[in-house]
Amino acid sequence: MQYISALFNGLSYGMLLFLLGAGLSLVFGVGRFINLAHGGLFVIGGYVGFTVLNELGNFWLGILIAPAVGATLGVAADLLVLRRLHGHGRELDQVLVTFGLALIIADATRAGWGGDIRSVAAPAPFDRPIEIGDFVYPTYPLVIIGVGLLVFGLLWLLLQRTRLGAMIRAAAGDQEMVQVLGVPTGPVLRLTFALGVALAAFGGAVGLPRQALAPGRDFEMLLLALVVVVIGGLGRIEGAFWAALLVGLTDSYGKLFFPEFTVAMIFGLLALVLIWRPEGLLGKRAA
């Protein structure tokens, strides 16, 4: 029984990691930089959801508002700071700036919501466990799995079937050439960035009933998201999806068998993938 529970635990955790990693990967694909404030956005999403639930009493409203707040903050950060650093050879500076933003967010959330652990109960009607014979399992993780699959599907459709998606892929492929063809890459990048951080904030709000909020959670989540995108191959959404599930399952089964060394196992996985395929599971091989 515990193996089946671990399966669902792993899958639902993996879906959260996917929501986080997908945004990180998307932004890297187009902007060629890693947003180290991504974990901060995840936590902000969670706190926004928490506050909405406390003030307005509606969990689902929080899930809607969180990504909106995340996107707004992302656009603001882009306009105020990141935009000044666009251009060749400044990617590293962008990463450093997002590291600064991550530190600012860490303290700002601590100032705003305090250092206590914040958790919420799963909303109705998902607050009761499912019972099938002897097997009892909470419902909410299944909701997270559903949401993750849905987001994956929608993202895939967006990227593969819409004009905007083609623009995002094109900007990720060859920015100079795409501009020569009259496609504005600046707005595409900004939109991708907003979408990416909105996904992170969404993940934070959706994951709230499963994962309590506390100082330090932002960097913890960022790190796992980094592992996910590196394993999956930077800039690849499908890669992020499969890698997120892999990491989620490693985590849940690791907790079952080697509770002390779960995280070490995840990084062991990372090291193995990097030895075997330095560009990630689905990454492009360098010529």
Binding site: L92, V95, A106, L234, E260, A264, P278
Partner: protein, 332 residues
């Protein structure tokens, strides 16, 4: 020309005198300022080694905390369980992080730029989690406290003297290194890796060596800091520690070895000022980092260099003239 040289020599002497004077202040004042002094010197030593990686090796690492933490924990464990003998503790505290650097460098140094930064971060965070979870060895979240003072350096004035000696030796060594063949090859590979390899240099090995050297220096700094505080905590591995070192390097200037010393002094000064007034010290750090990247590309060394250059422009012309003269002489 003589005037310019004289002026430069004077500036250099004045800077040295000022540094020596400042270095003597903490032990004289004692107490809290001695603590701040030790914090500055150990941070400067660690950041200087990172400066070598960033400024000459082109390896922007966000994983220096692992070296710091490994040095601190190695020292803490040895001193508490075996004995606080410097001849045992310090070499091991340097060698453990160096070994970790070699083991992880084999993976991280295959990548460049952002990827390198991420991988170093990931490995450092792995070390953090291990320190937190391997309770049998590390005592987990409680850390290790009651570390005895380093034999012969129990007095923090003596420990401070040791740290300053390490910093001074590190500075002298690295300033020789960056001009030596090894440093020049590192610098060449930063500018054009393919060319450096085409010339016949095993760039990877050079980088691995520099990486291990930086790890050893940082481990020493961590060990001294551990003995000063008397306790270590998994927080020593936390990535904010790496971030601080990187901020110090950027603040000081990435192409000057004395930059991290100035950067660390400034950082500790601002830090002690700010933390007395606010508990949200990371916020200040974050703003500082954003500010330095946006507006101060060369850091303090960059600013100083501009002033230096303005003063030495005249001299530069003279030097070029005399080089041409030397060239003529050499040809004859």
């Amino acid at each position: 020309m003589r005037h310019a040289l004289l002026a430069r020599a004077m500036v250099r002497t004045a800077a040295l005198a000022a540094a020596a004077g400042l270095a003597c202040m903490p032990p004289l004042a004692g107490g809290y300022s001695l603590h701040l002094g030790l914090e500055t010197v150990t941070l400067a030593l660690a950041a200087m080694s990172l400066g070598l990686l960033v400024g000459w090796g082109g390896m922007v690492s966000l994983g220096h905390a692992a070296f710091w933490g490994l040095g601190a924990y190695a020292a803490a464990l040895l001193s508490t369980h075996i004995g606080p003998w410097p001849w045992l503790v310090l070499p091991v505290a340097a060698m453990v992080p160096a070994a970790f650097a070699v083991a992880t460098g084999i993976f991280t140094l295959r990548s460049h730029g952002i990827f390198f930064l991420m991988l170093t971060l990931a490995f450092a965070q792995l070390a953090y989690v291990l320190a937190l979870q391997w309770r049998g060895l590390t005592n987990g979240d409680n850390g290790i406290s009651g570390i005895p003072g380093l034999a012969g350096f129990q007095d923090h004035r003596a420990l401070y003297g040791l740290a300053v000696a390490f910093l001074g030796a590190g500075y002298l060594f690295l300033s020789r290194l960056v001009r030596s063949p090894v440093g020049q090859v590192l610098d060449a590979a930063r500018q054009n890796e393919a060319r450096t390899r085409a010339l016949g240099y095993p760039v990877f090995t050079y980088r691995l060596a520099a990486y291990a050297l930086a790890a050893a220096m940082t481990g020493l700094a961590g060990a001294v800091a551990a003995h000063e505080r008397g306790f270590v905590h998994p927080r020593d591995f936390y990535w904010v520690v790496s971030g601080v070192m990187l901020v110090v390097v950027l603040l000081g200037g990435r192409r000057a070895l004395w930059g991290p010393i100035v950067g660390a002094s400034l950082y500790v000064a601002v830090g002690s000022w700010a933390s007395a007034r606010t508990e949200f010290w990371n916020l200040v750090l974050g703003l500082l980092l954003v500010g330095v990247v946006l507006w101060g590309r060369g850091g303090i060394a960059g600013l100083a260099g501009q002033a230096w250059q303005a003063a030495g422009r005249f001299q530069h012309l003279m030097v070029r003239g005399s080089n041409a003269g030397a060239a003529r002489r050499a040809r004859v």
